[in-house]
Symmetry: C2
Subunit: 242 residues, 2 copies
DNA sequence: TGCGATTTGTACGTATGTATT
DNA sequence: CAATACATACGTACAAATCGC
């Protein structure tokens, strides 16, 4: 079994080795917990140096397919089941990917201090100065999403001077908060009267609601709620063996 | 600017170098497109070997923070915006994480041949033998989700003999289809009459619908639809700098 | 308790290949 | 064509963790 591993001769050697060891794992031939050949065994098997074998195995470990431990060796990681990931693109990208023309319009822009309600959801002190922005995104002129931004001015003071009349907040923030931590919560809600009117829907229609919070240096920076008509929008994701 | 990079002295050298280069990127000091010091410059800066510097930079590239190109060198990758990922755990894990007792009950199990409708959604030939399984997941005895499985018996023939009376299909499949490719589509739907009854809801309540398709060796293997009451369940995800 | 053996982790130096300007 | 900068690969060495005796 161990000896049935074979290189396919295409591409870099460390990639060939990675694929050779990956194959029986993703096929299920090697069940979780099963020991993977040691680096020395693979060196002998493939005639490669330890650095090269090590790189292949380290990549498999980074991808979560194996677990490595000193002395005891590497074993196949437990099944993938709950490692599914979904990518959430920008609204603009989603609209344009569908071949439609993207546009947006500002619904509101005002400063406020955090009420108890907002402060609770935002996990900040009541009274913190905030900037609230509401937008409607359009696809071919028809409502595609509502977006409600709360920006913590204590964390991003430079937002005060930005009118957001030429740049939507998502893009403006992308350059101020690159790679900041953020959390998403996706739920389904029934459209209320106001929401239905803005999205041009019947009240009660199911909508996707995506709440997103981001932090800058550990301080809550933005709180965004995005609403999509249930029909006509979907979050999609893919899981694939590395 | 380039010279302000500094090691923190903790942990492996390649990790220190990675962090040192990572810091100005995630802080926004180095905007997308900005050139990252070459491996030779970093060798001189930190007094490390090229192998070590290379490993640090390769890791940053794997994580998507920089883009590496021959001759022109590495540059900061464009902003993270649309790289958000959401992990989708199993229903059992979600229920138990909330401190509730998980249970499930089978609603149906029967063999069928793919109708045109199913064949179209499943992307298989009409008439293909299928196994259909329906489940209701319970949290503390109350309906928490409905799950509807279609298993392609042409792809997973051994499923015919499995009654799934002791193991739910998700767990049974995890050992047959480890790491198989799968795609998710999340939408919001209004509960229909049957759905509302099974989930103990008022008809029309918004629900999250998660469709998942998986493949084995490129052949469609399973098609799963999972429905959650909009209130009481959410998909959550996190994005964090690597 | 300690000690040696095994296995992975890290880091070095070096060499050659390859894509791009 | 030459120079640059990354990509791959070899060999080596020592360190750290851990298991069995």
């Amino acid at each position: 079994m161990t000896d049935s591993l074979a290189l396919d001769g295409t591409g870099p050697l460390h990639e060939q080795i990675r694929r050779a060891v990956c194959a029986p794992i993703i096929s299920g031939a090697w069940q979780p917990g099963r020991r993977v050949p040691s680096e020395h065994e693979l060196m002998a098997l493939f005639g490669a140096s330890r650095m090269t074998v090590n790189r292949a195995m380290r990549t498999l470990a980074d991808d979560g397919l194996i677990v490595r431990r000193r002395r005891t060796g590497s074993v196949v990681a437990s099944a993938a089941g709950d490692r599914a990931v979904m990518s959430m693109g920008s609204i603009r990208a989603a609209v344009e990917a569908g071949g439609q023309v993207y546009s947006y319009e500002s619904l509101a822009r005002h400063r406020a201090r955090a009420t108890d309600d907002i402060a609770g959801r935002f996990k900040i002190a009541a009274g913190t100065p905030l900037l609230n922005l509401s937008w409607r995104h359009l696809a071919d002129g028809r409502p595609a999403a509502l977006e409600d931004y709360w920006i913590n001015l204590a964390a991003i003071p430079e937002a005060v001077d930005e009118m957001f009349d030429t740049v939507p907040p998502a893009e403006w923030l992308a350059t101020r908060l690159p790679w900041s931590k953020s959390r998403y919560v996706v739920t389904a809600v029934n459209a209320g009267a106001a929401m239905a009117k803005l999205l041009d829907l019947e009240p009660g229609i199911a909508c996707l609601k995506v709440d997103r919070r981001s932090w800058r240096d550990g301080v809550p920076a933005t709180f965004v709620t995005c609403l999509y008509p249930g029909t006509g929008h979907a979050l999609t994701g893919e899981v694939a063996p590395p």
